[in-house]
Every structure is written in C-alpha cells, then in structure tokens.
Amino acid sequence: MSKSEIALKVNGQSHRLEVFPMARLLDVLREELQLTGTKEGCGEGECGACTVIVDGRIVNSCLVPVVQVNGSEITTIEGVAGEDDLHAVQHAFIEHGGAQCGICTPGMVLAAVDLLERNPQPTEADIRTALAGNLCRCTGYMKIFESVLQARSSK
C-alpha cells in the first residue's frame, strides 16, 4: 500500500501529511505530529487511553484509520487548555486527585470535556456512563467522578 496525502486540523492547526491511509490515527498523532499526550493502553478500543475528539465526537484513535478522518478537526489533550489557563476539567483533576499515574488521564480528561460540552450539568450517573469507555487502574474512579462534578459546578 502506498502513502497518500491526508489533511487534518489538529488543535486548531492545519496539517497536510503523507501517510499510509490505514495508519492508525493514534500513530499519526504520536509519530508524525509528535503529539505524545495521546496514549496507547490496549490497541483494541477497550481502555480509552487514546481518546481524542474528532469533529465534536470522542473516538478511540487506536481504532480509526487516518483516511477516515481526512479533512476532520481533531482535539487532543494538548489542545484542551486555553492560551492562559487550564480547562476547568484539568484544574479539577489536579485539585481532586483525578490523576494518579496519569496514563489514562489524557483520555479521561477528553471524555469529561466532551461530556460537559454535551451536558453541562451531568449527574454522577451521567458521568459514570460517559466515562464507561475509559479505564483507570489507579483511582477506583471515585476521585475522577468528584473531579468532573467539581468541573461541572465551576463552569
């Protein structure tokens, strides 16, 4: 298979890349664009560590061939904070212990950001459901739920 040109807008910046069309979006972000904040945990869409937002929807970037997102707008963890300040979700994760080892954190933060975009006042049950595709082995999730509840009220 030969490489082809793919256009992506990542964290507001446009890129034209020569890549294999079936390359995983995860690898293109990490290796072509050096955006290593997106993590690989399982490579099969179970753990959510590779979560990114594509055209307003969260996806597991390990399951997405890059050709499928040609022309899309993508937000990775590197694009979540504003120019001057962290996102409310990021602040809340720091304050409330939502991050421990940090490897699931980028995906978890993006899933929470996406939830609050769609539902600014989620209940704890909404949060559990929204984060169900993101696995964490450190926290037992309690502090992650607290963090998202806090981010909700501080928005």
């Binding site: 945990g41 490579g43 720091i94 212990g97 991050a99 037992g140």
Partner: protein, 748 residues
C-alpha cells in the same frame, strides 16, 4: 510562615504535566537512529529447543539478532536465586519464555519479522497448577518443585486438637491476577562496549535494574545507568520485571550500537509478564465453646511459575499475614512456593497477603457460625490487643483498637440494620428470580516496610541538596508511579524545614544521580523512605544553623537566603540519611518468630452485595473502608490509594479471571480479561482513624497495599449472607456462582 503541608490535600506535584499530556512516558521518548526491538518467545511450556529458523519474505540481513550467545556477562536476572535466564539457552521452562531478540528501524517490520521466526521444541512433561506441582506430576524445578518453604510455630497446636470443643476446617483458593497498569512495560537503551549502558524505562525499582544489568554486562557499577521515566502504574508489575525488559533492550543496543526501544503491546504484556501468585490455603481451627481461638493450623501454598523471581518474599508476607490480627496461643503455619511451567508470577500489591487474608477472613465467618456466634462477636473475642502477640509472637506495642474499628465500620455501613433487612427481604422474595442482598466484612492488618530484617539489610539512603537558588532537592531512587511519592516527599521535606511545598523539588530517579533508597514496594515509600527524607533535610537545616547563616526561628525567606549564601561561600550543600531501625525490633529469620514489621495498618472493610438469581451476577452496591494508618499525610492521595486498591480488589474478587490454556494466558486482551469500569464500582466510602506512629514521618504508616487485602473476603462473606452458599474460591465469576448454586439447589 510555612504552609505546613502535612495533613493537607496538597495537589499532586506533577499533576499539571499529567493533565496536559506533557508528562513523558517511555514510549513518548525517541532517539536519533533508534531501532525498535521485539522478543521472540517459546511456543510451548517446556522442552528442549531443537531448531530456530528465520523464514518469510523478511530482509533478515538488516536485522540485529541477539541470542544467549551474545550476552557479555551472566545470563540470569540477578534477584534472589538467579535462576531465570535473560534468553533461554537450549531449554525452555514456560510458554512465552524469551529465546531471542530482534531489532530494526521499522517498528512494523519488526513485528512482522517476529512472526516469521520458527522455533521447534521437543516438548517435555510440564505442570500447570500448584496441585500438579505438589503432586510431582513432573519435577520441573530443583529436586522437588519447591522454591521456598517457611514454618511458623507458636505454642504447640498438636496439644490442642484432642481436647478442643470444636474444630473447623476449610480450603480456599485464589486465582492469578494481572496488574494491568494502563502503561505497558517498556525500555529504551543505549549501550556501547567500552562506554557502558544507559536505560530509560517504566519501572518501580531503578536499583533492581541496575543490579541486574551489572551482572548481565559484567560491567562496573558506574558503567550502568538506569533512569526512570514517568511510569503509568506499577502495582508490583514493574517491580522485578523491568530488569528483564531493560536487559533485553540493552542487549540489542549493545550489539547494534544504536539506541533500541522495546515496548510491549498489551497482548504481549499480559501473556508474558508476571501476575499475582495463585494460592491454596487450608485451615484447621480449634475453638472453645465460648468462641476463643485455641489453635490455628494453616497450610499456605502459592504457585510461583517457572522461575523463582520474588516468590520467597511473596510467600513470606503471605505467611506472616495468614494468622491475621488475632491473638491465638498456638499457631502453626506451613507454607510453600512451588514451581509450575507458566510464566513466572511476581509482585502484585499486597504481595501474598491478599491471598492468605482472603482464606482467613472467609474461614472465620464459618468458624463463627460453627460456634454459634455472629461474625463480629467471634472476631471481638479474639482480636489482638496491645501487649498480646501475633502468629509470629510479635508483641503489639502500639495502641490498637480493632474492637473500636469494627464497631465504627459496622455503624458507618449500617451493617446491623441492613443485615436484618436483607434477611427479611431475601426470605420474602417469593420464588422466581429476584435480586438478593447481603452484607459482610473482613478485619485485617497489613505490615508496612520490608519483612523482619529486610529494612536493615537494605540500608536505604536518601539525600537532600540545597541549590544556589535557595531551593531544596530530594534525591531518592523511590519512584512516582501514581501513588504520590513526589507529593508526599515534598510535603515531608517542607514540613520538616518550615518551608513551602513549592520550595521542594524531587529529582527524577536516575542511578547516576540519586542514592539507593530501596525499591518502591511494600508500602515503604511514605513510612520508611519518607522518614529518611525528613532526616536528610533536617541535616541540611542543622548545617545551615551550624554555619551561622541561619538562625533559629527563621522564615522560609531566611532559609532560601541562607542556602544561597552557603552555596556561594562553601560550594554544594548536601545531606544524606541512612536507615536506622526503630528500637526493640527483633526478628529471627530461622524460626520466623519476632517483630515481622515495625508497624501495621489496621482495617475493617464492609461490602454490601447484590446477587441476581437470573444472571448469577454478584455486584458490590456499597463499600465502606475504615483503616487506622498512623497520620494521614495527604487526605486526597491517601483516599485515592484506598479507593484504587479497593477497586482492584473488587476486580480480583468478581471480574478478573486469567484463563490458562497449556500454561499460557488465553485471554490476554482487555476485551476478555475484564477489569472494573466506571459503571462497575460502587461508592467506595473511605474513613481513616489517625494514631500517629512514632517512627514514621509526621506519624505516618504505610498504606499502599492495605486496600488490596480486605475486599475479597468481605464480598464473599456478603455473598454467603445473600445466598446461604459457602463460596471458597476467587475470582467468583457468574458461571462459577451458577455452577455451585445449581449443584446446591439440585441437592436440596
């Protein structure tokens, strides 16, 4: 004024890097001209290697290929018995055993190439379970398949059986469990003959890796440098294993002359790396009519896999904890770690204790029923008190109030009312399929730090350095793996110096820079290493005061100024502290008697469980975790440790089933090895009792492993309350529940 950070929910030191994606894990690093490595593994569990063939349409001449013959030093992972080879030479002892290593610039080609190496092995008889190993179905290690045995003998149990009012026996089993840190194992190495070896990697114990590579390359200590990268969880799974993967990356780098990255994918990490030791525990317990323990005889066996790794130490901790927080005059614990032809089992949070505590706390509910007492009353009649002794005859010298903890935990969980209500509602469930509820608990303790003389043997060192900018740096090999080392050390140092939390920097563990503060294991980082941090920084302060540059009653600004001035006048200011054992700690390694641990955390965990008669699903609905852990250094981090440990223990109990097929994990994917997700975990309600420990920094004791211990027996005790069924094995999957429940139903 200092911000006195101890006891406060100070935000995680490296939190900002982690929430912004800036924290760099090993797979995020890259070097010019770097190769990607892969491991070629044994297709069978045991046998003699007959041939190795390189086939397929692969440009093999472009590859670096390493076999055992390329090893410059000793072909073993230096640890305890040094029986595990880096690369099998002629003979394999477990499925997925590393046989050779390959590397190439193209990371996709290297994976393709791995599949085109054909290894033929003349298979020999293998054993796959501890039962088969004990029965000597085949001798696969040493003379008798036994890596290690212990005997704890207190009083004389043999004098008791004949006249005891009641004897209760039981057998309990626990399965393997995958640590499942979300970041897989990985390492990057640069190595050149004549220059030395440098490895960056995801790890808990840089000096373990250092020790192993000194032997592997037969190089002087200063030619090996190990640097920990940000580590995405460990739980024991990155205690000893990184010595192997780091060595593999380094061997490829040594031969190729280029940087080599070796990072496992999830399937390889799950199929090839260590897991929690499966166990079998037999209990024989003598009690009097009034429910006093007279004798406990415990036979504890763990399956160590194909090589010894840390099994003797895991066995030790499991053995010592097997008798629990009880005062019994006669105790005999006989324990063995045995060999099987599965990949070596290794460290996992709790380190043998979750296995033996599961058995004990499940068994004691049965003993209570046999003697006609409630589970809580039976335990209350037998708890160890100050001045009484544990199974190893350790006299408890700290204030301990298990009765009080139990009462409070039962109250916090609404235990009595729920037990009564569930019994009524379960009985009224009028036929058909319904949900039943039950509530159960476990009472337990967990020793912090290395066992017995272990800490004295380690002789851990921590250094502190004042910088020319007036900041204080902590130098220790203790790693941040999510549990909060950076934050806790900063809190301890700032508190001891009267500085602000932000005045303290933690130096990334790098054996070229930091002293050996021992491994990051055994709930020892806060309590043992933290105390050394405190001592080391106090040394800095004393030097500054002694030099006349700092007066008593100084402010943080005075301290910073004094550091700057000192460094300007005299050069670097460094202070080191070496471990000193607390007084009156005596341990007899031969008899396994004495002060096994300097301090214990004490806990009562209560599980409220539902059981669905249609799906056979047991689900934890509410969980109360109450513990006495000395002083809580950081309430958010401490609660985070407990919640995470409880969730992992719920997984151990109800979700995580390693399916073995011919000595190999068959479900080595996150798709079919299931860990709890955000929708599976009940509210975990964490409560602390604080009873400052005189020899811990700020009064702290260790807590990291404690929460792994109590959930499994509490949950199975609750399931018995719900169903009336005595379940004795974990993981307790719905299909296992179904099998036993149906058998029982057919019988009655």
């Amino acid at each position: 004024m200092s911000d006195h950070p101890i006891g406060k929910p100070v935000p995680r030191k490296e939190g900002r890097k982690k929430v912004t994606g800036q924290a760099l894990y090993v797979d995020d690093l890259s070097f010019p001209d770097m190769l990607h490595g892969a491991t070629v593994r044994s297709p069978v569990p045991r046998g003699k290697i007959r041939s190795i063939a390189f086939g397929g349409d692969i440009p093999w001449h472009e590859f670096t290929i390493v076999t055992a013959k390329d090893i410059p030093g000793a072909n073993y992972v230096a640890l305890i018995l040094n029986d595990q080879p880096y690369l099998a030479e002629g003979f394999v002892n477990h499925a997925e055993e590393p046989i050779l290593l390959i590397a190439h610039h193209d990371k996709y080609l290297v994976q393709e190439a791995r599949r085109h190496v054909t290894i033929e092995v003349d298979e020999q008889p293998a054993v796959f379970t501890l039962e088969e190993s004990l029965a000597k179905k085949a001798i696969v290690w040493g003379e008798d398949n036994v890596f290690k045995k212990f005997l704890v003998d207190k009083g004389n149990v043999d004098d008791v059986w004949a006249n005891a009012d009641l004897i209760v026996e039981g057998e309990y089993e626990t399965g393997a469990q995958e640590q499942l840190y979300i970041e897989n194992n990985g390492a990057i190495a640069i190595a050149r003959p004549g220059e030395g070896v440098t490895v960056w990697g995801s790890m808990q114990c840089p000096y373990y890796v250092h020790k192993a590579l000194v032997k592997l390359f037969d190089l002087p200590e200063d030619k090996i440098r190990i640097i920990q990268t940000e580590t995405g969880g460990g739980f024991g799974g990155k205690e000893e294993y990184p010595s192997l993967i780091a060595g593999h990356a380094a061997l490829l780098a040594w031969k190729s002359g280029k940087p080599v990255k070796l990072v496992y994918d999830r399937a390889e990490d799950m199929v090839a790396t260590t897991k929690r030791h499966p166990s079998r525990t037999r209990h024989k317990t003598a009690v009097s009519k009034d429910g006093k323990l007279l004798a406990m005889e415990i036979d504890f066996v763990i399956d160590g896999g194909a090589y010894c790794t840390l099994s003797p130490v895991v066995l030790s901790r499991g053995t010592i904890h097997a008798g629990g927080p009880y005062n019994c005059p006669n105790v005999r614990i006989h324990s063995r770690a045995v060999a099987t032809n599965v990949p070596p089992q290794g460290a996992f949070r709790g380190f043998g204790a979750p296995q033996s505590i599961f058995a004990l706390e499940r068994h004691f509910d049965l003993v209570a029923r046999a003697v006609g007492l409630t589970p809580e009353e039976f335990r209350k009649r037998n708890f160890v008190h100050e001045g009484e002794t544990t199974a190893t005859s350790q006299v408890i010298r700290e204030r301990v109030d298990m009765n009080g903890l139990l009462d409070r935990a039962l109250q916090l969980s609404d235990y009595h009312a729920k037990r009564e209500r569930f019994a009524r509602e379960n009985a009224n469930a009028n036929g058909g399929f319904s949900k039943k509820r039950g509530i159960g608990f476990a009472t337990f303790m967990h020793g912090a730090g290395f066992t017995g003389s272990g800490e004295v043997y380690l002789q851990s060192v921590v250094s502190a350095e004042a910088t020319s900018e007036g900041r204080v740096q902590i130098l220790a090999a203790s790693t941040e793996i999510g549990q909060g080392t950076n934050t806790i050390f900063s809190q301890i140092a700032a508190e001891a110096l009267g500085l602000d939390f932000d005045d303290i920097d933690i130096v990334q563990p790098d054996t070229g820079r930091v002293p050996n503060s021992g491994p990051t294991v055994a709930s020892r980082t806060s309590m043992v290493v933290g105390k050394l941090v405190e001592s080391a920084v106090i040394g800095l302060k004393q030097t500054l005061i002694g030099s006349g540059l700092l007066g008593e009653g100084y402010t943080p600004a005075d301290f910073r100024a004094a550091c700057r001035e000192y460094v300007a006048r005299y050069g670097p200011l460094k202070s080191s502290a070496t471990y000193q054992p607390p007084p009156n700690i005596h341990w007899d390694d031969e008899k396994y008697q004495g002060d096994a641990y300097g301090a214990y955390a004490w806990a009562v965990y209560v599980a409220d469980v539902s059981y669905d008669e249609l799906t056979y699903e047991a689900r934890v609905e509410d969980f109360v975790a109450l513990q006495e852990v000395g002083r809580v250094l950081n309430p958010v981090l401490a609660a985070g440790q407990i919640e995470g440990g409880v969730a992992q223990a719920i997984g151990f109990t109800l979700f995580e089933n390693v399916v073995w097929k011919n000595g190999r994990m068959a479900n080595n994917q996150m798709t079919n090895y299931i860990i709890p997700t955000p929708v599976d975990i009940p509210p975990i309600r964490v409560y602390f009792e604080e009873n400052p420990y005189a020899y811990g920094p700020g009064g702290a004791k260790g807590i990291g492993e404690l929460p792994m211990d109590g959930a499994a027996p509490a949950i199975l005790n609750a399931i018995e309350d719900a169903t009336g069924q005595n379940f004795t094995r974990i993981p307790l999957m719905p299909e296992m529940l179904m099998e036993q429940y149906e058998q029982e139903r057919n019988r009655t």
